[in-house]
Symmetry: C2
Subunit: 193 residues, 2 copies
């Protein structure tokens, strides 16, 4: 529904691409499949994305970037304590993963790994996404009074541990890795108080 109704053709194509890349990666996702799921024609896909599959993948990565940034921003604003906020983020990710039947992990990781060192445009878009996510955590920690160097390093590990735990949760079809990661990250953050 969210990819078929109430959005223009271009937006439907980007959303369908993002979801397919999230579930099966870049190489396994065909343009025919995208146009079918987006309820658009192949001609429309090339009309909006003359750069073909690569250009489309870059837009899909940017879409996933905004999507996860929104989730992250929400929980960081809702919960005052940074350690509790990160633990809550891990819980939200676990719930979303379970609700999707363990199919919808990080929207960009699979494509990022497939393309790293081989498709510069996609690699750059993915790098930018991770940077944006780290910046959100970094700002939260700075506003909570953590010194610059501590906040910088913690931002890296918070995002990377959530990424690794989500991957593990998806493969083992269990919320445990994310639940444990949430507790450990909270403990790590609190150890710098």
């Amino acid at each position: 529904m969210s990819t078929t109704q109430e959005y223009g053709t271009r937006e439907r194509i980007v959303r369908a691409t993002s979801r397919l890349m999230q579930q099966q990666g870049f190489a396994a996702t065909g343009l025919k499949q995208i146009s079918r799921e987006a309820q658009a024609t192949l001609g429309s896909v090339y009309h909006f994305f003359p750069g073909g599959k690569t250009e489309l993948a870059v837009e899909a990565i940017r879409h996933g970037d905004r999507e996860f940034a929104e989730l992250l921003r929400d929980v960081l604003e809702r919960v005052d304590d940074p350690a509790a906020a990160i633990a809550g983020c891990a819980r939200d990710l676990a719930a979303g993963l379970r609700e999707s039947g363990w199919l919808d992990g990080c929207p960009i990781t699979t494509t990022a790994l497939e393309s790293a060192g081989r498709v510069p445009d996609i690699q750059r878009a993915a790098e930018q996404a991770f940077q944006n996510w780290r910046a959100l955590v970094h700002d939260k920690l700075r506003r909570s009074g953590f010194p610059e160097d501590v906040a910088h390093d913690l931002a890296h590990t918070v995002i990377n541990t959530l990424e690794g735990a989500e991957m593990s949760a998806q493969v083992s079809q269990s919320e445990a890795p994310l639940e444990i990661a949430g507790r450990h990250l909270a403990r790590l953050i609190d150890s710098y108080r």
Copy 2:
């Protein structure tokens, strides 16, 4: 060299498949490309792996499993202190990644994410690999005197954080994520002493 000389045909095929899947994933790796890099013919590939691409991917995952387990076992045996050993592991991963021109990340993660929830045989092999790696960390922590529940949870986060940091290091072509992860994991482990 390691995939062309001094190994039998079957072993060359598995090694070539593992390396290609490590660098570009499962879907982007063709059987023609595998047979070319393994210096074997397509007929030989199907002779040894009648189950086709999926059976070959499962064997390649198992190969990557053993490969990383060996690296992990080495450093865990070499360094007595568990926190220092894990930090050393992060350093080794960063060095290997840089030396490969940021191409050789985790040998199984990309394929695991591509296949999760879609190719049961591959998902199971990947799940088994992560379980094996956690067991190595778990045993090290138990032998170092950590209680069962603490060792269980730490094993999860050690592997998952290393996974996430290696992914991040690959995408950003920087050793920083792994260096930071090594320090944070050591700090987390020490916090349970």
